[in-house]
């Protein structure tokens, strides 16, 4: 037996859920047990990985022992690890929740392998160091996600997820064309090597730009950037609650992560202010439109889905600010804020959806206006909604508060003050839609006698929400360390 701590967790993060998927697929009757075990093991691997990266910086491994150029690399830098640890903790929460969620054993059996495949794909995406491998991961993600989304079997769900599947395919094939062009131009698929090649060769600027556009266009579809979000609300709103949580909190985030990676790492010499501004404008539109639609949504899950559209929009606002900020502690802070917002949204939205699912199960529907006392009967769930809601709004203390604070600070510093208006508007609208839900928790219904009624379902939601608020809002310093950034990013 031989364990190489520096590379094994990287592999295990992907292989454990994959193995879990295989086992749960092969032994459907043991699915819950095996799946839960693998979920725990995966999360443990992810946490180990995080600790390692925190201690020793970026980890990488070229699989198969071949040259970096020839082999597929896995690599975990701060950015990837931050998202991995978020995804895996959220994933663990979702797993615990899901273990009690499905009443129908068939669905339960269908859920586990697909969910673990999705999980593997997520970790793979975050950790992959190879452009084509990313494509395969994207496809795995898309297929598993669409299949999971359709798990309720309702017509709406199938229609929505068929659309989602097609969007995903369209996006990934467009991305793949980009990869093909990139290979044509640069002759390698390794992220670092391509990045180096792009930085070195200015002659191919136009080709690189086109490649970037192809890849970003494909990923923007998957990331549901306004107005390409059209597929998201029906897909996320009609999925089973744990799946919605995973889709909204993690899957969309993965696509965004790739955009970010391309934009900041790979194509940094190609990107410019104008293009960043375009994306940010779309992001701003997403913030306003998504929040508005969330406010007007009739169903709780639709509300949550539109909220995701808005939250993704926030992330794009960072691009022009990053473009306008020279390297240094300020830019580092901005980058950390971006990651922090993404991570916070991951936790918060997962908590929100899980709680929402419980409300839905309890009430038999999720029409907001008819929820009446359901929310009141479930104090812990309402709490989870409240906590994650305040993280969605960006109220302190939550990670998104810090994110917004730094975002606005930088917006003012760089003279792009208009983003402040966008953030403000979005925040107000978010407050309106969150409290539109929360106000249902105060009625003349009978008093609940206990705080927690269904521990297995309520505690994961509550804990995830709590992380988004308390942990990320009050102790986000380690994130800077993880990202390898200079601390104390102040003007």
């Amino acid at each position: 037996m031989h364990l190489d701590l520096l590379t094994d967790p990287l592999v295990l993060c992907i292989m454990l859920p994959l193995l879990g998927a295989v086992l749960t697929a092969a032994l459907p009757r043991r699915a819950v047990l095996l799946g839960s075990l693998m979920a725990v093991a995966t999360s443990a691997a992810a946490v180990t990985l995080t600790i390692l990266v925190w201690q020793s910086g970026t980890l990488r491994v070229a699989l198969g022992g071949w040259d970096q150029k020839l082999a597929i690399s896995l690599r975990a830098d701060g950015l990837a690890t931050a998202l991995v640890v978020m995804a895996n903790i959220v994933g663990l929460g979702i797993s615990v929740y899901a273990s009690g969620y499905f009443r129908d054993p068939e669905r339960m059996r269908a859920f586990w392998p697909l969910w673990l495949l999705l999980w593997a794909a997520l970790n793979g995406l975050f950790l992959a160091g190879d452009l084509f491998n990313l494509y395969v991961m994207l496809e795995l993600l898309g297929i598993a996600a669409a299949a999971l989304g359709a798990l309720t079997g309702s017509r709406d769900a199938i229609a929505a997820n068929l659309r989602y599947l097609l969007v995903g395919l369209l996006g990934s094939i467009t991305y793949l064309l980009g990869v093909a062009l990139l290979y044509t131009a640069h002759g390698t698929l390794d992220l670092d090597l391509v990045a180096a090649s792009i930085a070195a060769d200015d002659e191919l600027f136009a080709v690189n730009a086109a490649t970037l556009v192809l890849m970003v266009a494909g990923l923007a579809l998957k990331a549901a950037l306004f107005p390409l979000h059209f597929w998201l609300p029906p897909a996320h709103a009609n999925a089973p609650a744990p799946v919605s949580a995973a889709l909204s909190a993690l899957v969309v985030k993965a696509a965004f992560y790739l955009i970010l990676r391309l934009w900041l790492d790979l194509f940094a010499p190609v990107t410019g202010m104008a293009a960043a501004m375009l994306l940010a404008l779309l992001g701003a539109a997403a913030v306003v439109w998504g929040s508005w639609r969330a406010l007007r949504a009739e169903r709780l899950k639709l509300l949550a889905a539109y909220s995701t559209v808005a939250q993704i929009g926030y992330l794009f606002l960072f691009l022009p600010l990053l473009a306008a900020t020279p390297a240094g502690p300020v830019r580092d802070s901005l980058l950390a804020a971006l990651v922090l917002m993404a991570v916070t949204h991951g936790f918060a939205k997962a908590g929100f959806f899980l709680a929402t699912g419980l409300v839905q199960t309890n009430a038999g529907h999720d029409r907001i206006d008819d929820l009446g006392g359901t929310a009141q009967r479930l104090p812990a769930t309402t709490f989870a909604i409240a906590l994650s809601g305040s993280a969605l709004i960006g109220l302190p203390p939550s990670g998104s508060f810090i994110g917004k604070w730094l975002l606005m600070q930088c917006a003012i510093e760089t003279g792009q003050w208009w983003w402040v208006i966008v953030v403000t508007t979005g925040t107000l609208l978010a407050a309106a839609y969150v409290f539109r839900v929360l106000s249902r928790a105060f009625g003349l219904e009978p008093t609940p006698l206990r705080f927690i009624t269904d521990a297995r379902a309520e505690i994961p939601a509550l804990l995830l929400a709590l992380v988004s608020v308390a942990v990320l809002g009050l102790a986000s310093g380690p994130l800077w360390t993880l990202l390898g950034l200079q601390a104390g990013g102040d003007a």
Binding site: M1, H2, L3, D4, T7, D8, V11, M15, L18, L19, A21, A25, A26, L27, P28, R29, V61, L63, G64, G65, W66, D67, K69, L70, A71, I72, D104, P105, E106, P113, L114, L117, A120, A121, G124, F132, V136, M137, E139, L140, I143, A144, A147, L148, A150, L151, G153, L181, Y183, T184, A185, H186, G187, T188, L189, D201, E203, L204, A206, V207
Partner: protein, 250 residues
Amino acid sequence: MTQTSDRARQRAQARAQERARDLSLLLGVLLALLGAVLLGLYYLALDGGAAPRLAELALARLPESGVGNPVTAVLVNYRAFDTLVELAVLLAAVLGIWSLGPAPPGFQRSGAVLAGMVSWVVPLLIVASGYMLWVGGYAPGGAFQAGALLGAAGVIVRLAGDPTAGLPAEATQRWLLVLGVLVFALVGLGLMLFGAGFLTYPPKLAKWLILLIESAATIAIAAALAAAYVGGRPAPSKAAIDDYGSDSSP
């Protein structure tokens, strides 16, 4: 009343159609321009691109890979991870299909001619598949081609009226489906545990490990393709019904 509403609907439909046409025209123009730009840039890329790319390297390391066919070497050795994930994709698709409910009923039992042909073709395909698998080691061929052929055999069997497409019962079928990923993963992880690194084949064992993986992959791919063609979870056997109860509604 209904007439007017009908007419209104028709008018709305006409407007929608018109708009769709406008949009498709617009799209056409846009895409044509985009295509042109892409072509131009593609030219630049071809021209100014890094000429050696990975070919030299891949070919140079071929002897260490354990196979003679460079494509197979890439697939199962240099970029084995891709293949592993790709098998997972296939698995995901089948599981997704299964999650949507039981398979639709198969086709009518084939007539004598078709049945005769099937009884000819299927063994041929199986043999061809085996050949493909073997030849993949040093010439074009390999698990995918083999699996595809084998899968095609399943398709033909289903077309000929066997609703199971020649696949075994669900429990076994599940093992077949996961076999590729399972073997791949176990080999990879096993190597890792023994200190070689994930999917790092020791040169001595490389050939045999690859063969093992390829064989498993072939079976898995074939099973997956056939199962996908069946289009749903296999109808549960009687034993399974007793086992799970009758709660198999989607």
